[in-house]
Point group: C2
Chain length 466, copies 2
């Protein structure tokens, strides 16, 4: 029997799509790449996922696991051969259980991040993973790519928010590693081997996640700073004063907010134009009043120490949302401005200011007139350090002609600072060559050994990561 | 040339010990096991560690990495064959660097935990890993076993406190994965593969660790509770009220404090005898006054809700230390009472009370008169659930006769609750059979595949973990 007939017999016809427009599963989020799938398989249970993997293994057909297909590195779409199946987890989208006393929640891999956040909130609790694609991305994808987002400073990446996994192995066996335990030293850390492996070592089918008490109040502020050094000084002050209460610390350069001003003129910008603008978020376990007093005191001290110029504290949930909306409008404003070259980099926080100063200058020397869109999660050292063509230059032409050289310059500088060329978006297909070039040969050898050990036939998302 | 001659030529005579009394490296911390080493090798640098591994590999001699030799599961001493070398990291004990702006510290693997804590404190910062053996254990051992301790509730295990590793592989190559990055998704998570692998996949030679701002004040309290259910209720209330300010939540049953009363009569116990006593620790980023107000409010609410009976808040650093000293005296009081059967278990917090009630009862039915020393880190679900012989029964005889049956009963009950039979002490040699029996076959198969992939000749700590 052919693979597809076999899968139709096992899963039912509706779960095996091989005709018609499959572009929703074949085209990546940024619409930069299109693959072609032999079929899209939509299992409804862990047992069905295991059956799909076993059948594909028997037929020697490789598998591309897919969640919300919001990845930015081409890791979740098939290649162009038409021989790979997309294994969509989207139908497995239940919240399986919430254990309030244990502060945990167990969800299917296909559960949309926002649905997981809402389920936690309905139980009076907080699931703190938060990122731009949260309305579409899934927990399985978040864990497969070890997603980051805006709350990493306080709560860590997706990795740190996961206590246990259920996984279908390359052999089509089910590992039930769902666990609500905070301490568990029974052998090697398979959970973390799977997290961030982008579907190349196993298929994540469910996860047990950490929850937190809801804060009593969340407050947001914007502060104008003259230099990145001052922004880092403000971060240190905020960490000392607020401790774990500091749940967000974003930075935006002047040009990134200029783009928002240009393309979203209706959005009010509370502060005047400044070299850098910081967005701070504080989550308070006591009360809005307590939060206000702490926040005002922090900003007052920062003013006195000349770390910041002007500042604005949100006085309502609306204002707070509007501040975040400014920050979150940058990627779209960038797109409206035209094609650009994106970098998702991480640096030691102590190296950020020096990196930006010297790399901005080197880029200007090499590509006079280019415009830098620098913004990101300064609190955890993660910058989206993006390059827009000079004014008046065709953006697509610029990207086509210069992307490789710009990447080399930026990634060389990142490497020299002990940084990472892939902070929170993963490797996928797009950064695979960078990994092969830039990762230490010893580390690559260990990674390849692990891949061969867990997926000897190379059927799980081949050609991604390694 | 023989291995030892070769090592003497490379490292110098003083670094290769093969004569005289080697018991400091051959006997485990609890003095329950003694091995015999071919030699104890004491390299002074990462390059020397790599040379030792290469030489041992050439000669087919297996290696037992050792830090402070304070492990409780026999993972750091050689077997009795006299053919294994102990690779002691003790001479590599430097703090390599502290990066205050990045809140990180890089230390050699042989750096003693307390020295790391003190170096952080000297820079005005906090390294929060804290456990009983901190004066002797080393960072390499802490990471090799993914140590836990008293602050896991807030800061996580050793795993969560580590951002990067330097490792010598089984092939004697050096992987420089030292990183001060909070976000880094460049390939598989080798760091977490190595952490907790107990020296069986590579030799950790250095680590970059997370630091935190020092809290402005730390306050401790004791509270008497009638049931474990009430203790869990108090935990939930404290988590909601104090958030990340809650840095310790220990529980002790009446008998464990009775033992302290009996064997350390000079230690004042601020509260009367209660079925359970909780120790709470709060770390405050604002001030001692603020901490006091919050803590009093919490305990007042807990009293009103009848979660607690009596309570005592430490009014000085001295009193605070005395409260912790009570808790930390339990293991020694137990030893003075006589041999006993120890369990280092973790449970979902929601399952702790039910587990203890039914398992206490089952043990009493099976072994009438036995005395249960229940204490541990309730905040993260980790109990040291220990069994002492009935009064008047010879303790050594009891342990010799019943240990296996007691373990089976306890671990079966732990498994039925979704718990772990190894929370923070690792597997080593002592729990290896339990792992083989109790871990899922699918997980064991993945673990064995990883071991074969990274240490194909099985020269790194063979016979431990797997």
């Amino acid at each position: 029997m052919s693979l597809l007939s076999e899968l139709r017999a096992t899963l039912g016809d509706a779960a095996v799509l091989s005709e018609g427009d499959l572009s929703a599963w074949e085209v990546d989020w940024r619409k930069r790449a299109q693959g072609r799938a032999l079929a899209v398989i939509r299992p409804a249970s862990t047992g069905e996922v295991a059956a799909v993997v076993r059948a594909c293994s028997t037929h020697g057909v490789s598998i591309v696991p897919q969640g919300g297909n919001t990845g930015l590195v081409g890791g979740s779409i098939p290649d162009s051969s038409g021989t790979q199946v997309v294994l969509s987890l989207a139908r497995m989208n239940r919240v399986r259980a919430i254990d309030a006393a244990n502060l945990t929640m167990t969800v299917d891999a296909g559960c949309v991040l926002q649905a997981a956040q809402e389920a936690a909130a309905a139980a009076g609790l907080l699931f703190p993973l938060s990122l731009a694609a949260e309305g579409s991305c899934t927990i399985g994808g978040n864990l497969g790519t070890n997603a980051g987002g805006t709350q990493v400073l306080r709560y860590g990446n997706a990795r740190e928010l996961c206590l246990g996994l259920e996984v279908v192995t390359a052999a089509g066996e089910i590992w039930d590693g769902l666990s609500g335990l905070r301490k568990d030293n029974t052998g090697y850390d398979l959970r973390n081997v799977l997290i961030g492996s982008e579907g190349t070592l196993g298929v994540i089918t469910a996860a047990t996640l950490k929850l937190y008490p809801q804060p009593a109040a969340v407050t947001t502020a914007l502060a104008a700073v003259a230099t990145l050094d001052a922004a880092v000084g403000l971060l240190q002050l905020a960490q000392a004063r607020l401790g774990a209460g500091l749940t967000g610390f974003e930075v935006m350069n002047a040009f990134s907010l200029d783009l928002v001003r240009r393309h979203f003129a209706a959005l009010r910008q509370p502060l005047g134009r400044a070299p850098w603008t910081v967005l701070l978020e504080q989550s308070d376990t006591e009360s809005a009043e307590h939060a206000g007093v702490l926040f005002e005191g922090l900003l007052q001290t920062a003013l006195e120490r000349e770390l910041i110029g002007d500042a604005a504290v949100a006085s309502s949930l609306e204002q707070s949302k509007a501040m975040w909306h400014l920050r979150e409008s940058i990627p779209l404003a960038q797109s409206l401005e035209g094609a650009n070259i994106k970098h998702d980099i991480a640096l030691p926080i102590s190296a950020v200011a020096g990196f930006v100063e010297s790399t901005d200058a080197a880029l200007q020397r090499a590509f006079p007139g280019i415009r830098l869109v620098d913004f990101g999660h300064l609190g955890d050292g993660n910058l989206h350090y993006n390059v827009q063509a000079p004014d008046g230059v065709d953006a697509l032409d610029f990207v086509a002609e210069h992307e490789a050289r710009v990447n080399d310059l930026v990634y060389d500088a990142v490497g020299a600072c002990g940084g990472s060329f892939s902070a929170e978006h993963g490797i996928g297909r797009i950064k695979r060559e960078q990994l092969a070039r830039r990762e230490s040969p010893v580390a690559l050898q260990m990674m390849r050994a692990i891949k061969s050990a867990l997926d000897p036939a190379n059927l799980l998302n081949p050609g991604r990561v390694l």
